[in-house]
Symmetry: C2
Subunit: 456 residues, 2 copies
Amino acid sequence: MTLPPALLDQLAAIFGDRLSTAPAVREHHGKDESHFPPCPPDAVVFALSTADVVGAVKACAAHLVPVIAFGTGTSLEGHVAALKGGVCIDVAGMNSILSVRPEDLDVTIQPGVTRKQLNEHLRDSGLFFPIDPGADASLGGMAATRASGTNAVRYGTMRDNVLSLEVVLPDGRVIRTARRARKSSAGYDLTRLFVGSEGTLGIITELTLRLHGIPEAISAATCPFPSVEAAVETVILTIQSGIPVARIEFMDEVMADAVNRYSRTSHRVAPTLFFEFHGSPASVREQAERVEAIAAELGGDGFRWATGAEDRTRLWAARHNAYYAGVALRPGCRAWTTDTCVPISRLAECLLETKADLATSGLTSAVVGHVGDGNFHVMLLVDPNRPEEIAEAEALNRRIVHRALAMDGTCTGEHGIGHGKMEFLAAEFGDGLDIMRAIKTAIDPLGIMNPGKIVG
Amino acid sequence: MTLPPALLDQLAAIFGDRLSTAPAVREHHGKDESHFPPCPPDAVVFALSTADVVGAVKACAAHLVPVIAFGTGTSLEGHVAALKGGVCIDVAGMNSILSVRPEDLDVTIQPGVTRKQLNEHLRDSGLFFPIDPGADASLGGMAATRASGTNAVRYGTMRDNVLSLEVVLPDGRVIRTARRARKSSAGYDLTRLFVGSEGTLGIITELTLRLHGIPEAISAATCPFPSVEAAVETVILTIQSGIPVARIEFMDEVMADAVNRYSRTSHRVAPTLFFEFHGSPASVREQAERVEAIAAELGGDGFRWATGAEDRTRLWAARHNAYYAGVALRPGCRAWTTDTCVPISRLAECLLETKADLATSGLTSAVVGHVGDGNFHVMLLVDPNRPEEIAEAEALNRRIVHRALAMDGTCTGEHGIGHGKMEFLAAEFGDGLDIMRAIKTAIDPLGIMNPGKIVG
């Protein structure tokens, strides 16, 4: 679309040289880390305050022009693609940490603050923010996509760790979704409504997050297993025993090999679990002993411990770089990442059926998973210039999703819907999708907020 | 209102002798445990299945007649009052435990199952459901009001422990709000939307709940303190230290005295904390030692331990009977219970200002609190036949709520809005209340679901 000149004038009046229509800027803002082709907005504004966002939203609403929020562009389902053109509001510059309250274990920040920036800032306070999706994403984006990652098994997801949001509504009004009290039964849960709404109901301009004490003691370990079943059974028994493991991550033998090559590690080329334990020194020791005993019963015999901070950092860097390690398996390719999550009792079955399905495909693939939650990702490596590979990946993804749905799972554990997963919502929610549509229409009657995402 | 004869015929066809218009039955269903006068529905149907609920809702929708769900009638803000008449759907008979899945730590139940019934059923499985609002409420009602209680500081509230709901919508369609996966980023969070919606958006006909392992070791203790500040400071330091205390409850000196009289206990007549620790034997010991050290520094010197199951049961029975102990302070009176929740850093200030305010009033009052969450209740004992006492309680409650709001707290930590707290929502949410109204209108355009509650 071509933006109305009157709108561009209004935006220029608010943003000055923080308004851009340069092709490179637009291109950058229409693209995330997914395999989807870029879809640039018509203009980008760089917001520095809630007032900026209000100004942009009001101007766009008056001209019925779409508005798309942008943080770090690390989403994975085409969330930032300007499918119907419009104005991208880049909030990366809204990156102030407004207030840390150690006595309440919470913090108020602007949406462009990234998780690493926050934890760096908190370091001397003895507190940390646990949600860790791998990418150094903006916390506004993490809330908008209901992100989680490696620590979710113990600390929950963004759903559980957002206390309150400031949101600019589609008509430019500003609300706070909740007070700062730890719990409330006051009316509909607006916080949880906006967490995971992917910019389709409003734009997050401030977040109050729960913090956690940095554990007195931390230890981490890896352990190879003779089979996928043995690894998953270890996970199930660990969770069932109520051991408050902080992280329990899986990679298959392909990924173990890829990580070795990429990060110069020496994992046995086998299905492998990564563990991390948080607590007092005595409790960490106790947790570790119990898990090691469970693993040993199932044939996991090569526990390698990393107790020093540096060793642990190296271990988790290797895990976090699994995405890039996977991509490096086939240079020049892009990764198509699946994201299903199933009840943990079905996880081994789901993984095995999926791996058998992958084996029949010609595509290179590797598996990692936040298995304590039943969530795993298949990385499918596709050559973007070969449509038959894209089609093959699409077909595999579709089968993986329907397999998960048949096991009472979800099409996305943590990446969100964007436009990439919309086709699965009807199968997952039935008439519930109508309720989502009714909510969308009620809150955004003009349909200007990130159109073409979640409910279409 | 008088129900249309055609509607009564339709209901009779579905429910037979499970339809009642008897005054005593109607009276019972228009009344909860609050101080509000009863407001009976025009008819009551006793549902035994989702199909029954669908039939009743469809019939009522066709005649634009209000529908109010009823579980155990233990709500505290007039939630079940049939303010505009209509049909009450009693779901207490839908009390089957449909499926326990120890391997997934979850359970699927009908909404009339009560929390004690569920835990009794689970006893031999090694699992339990932690949410404990005191009353033996139905779990459907607990979800509908976003209940919590004494264990919330460790295990969260109903918000955190409902995995999925089956809901009958206002037009009679049935949806499931989520799959059984532990986490999901698929679309708007319908589960959290219906948790806390108090029957104003639909009727819960099935719940899938998270379960937790019964801890290997449990110990409980009480400790008196020289002042409210000392008790609250102990709470703050305990939470800040990351000690995973399972329960940390407060009662003031008036309540300690009342409990002694009612439950024949021998608490020192002083501000008192109740603790409970869950974990492995070593971890419970470690937690208890750390808390005892914190308390000792603040002048809490009379730790009394209850480690045996029987001793603990007695201790918590006394705490749970605090409501009745309070009521017994002034026979013939009713209790008006406040329910504010503030950030924990403001708790001592809030409690002290409130107690000073109470001291200027002629009403008998006592304080208990789930202080680990910043949530406390003032029980105001009023003679229902003396309008000036009702007016005094109303004024005190209003001041308590506005004090909490000024401290970034909420008007209700766990009881919900019903019709009793509606006047405070605008002050708490501003334009956010418009979003709640828009959602209500979108999902229940005929306005038949529990009208006059939350958004009016």
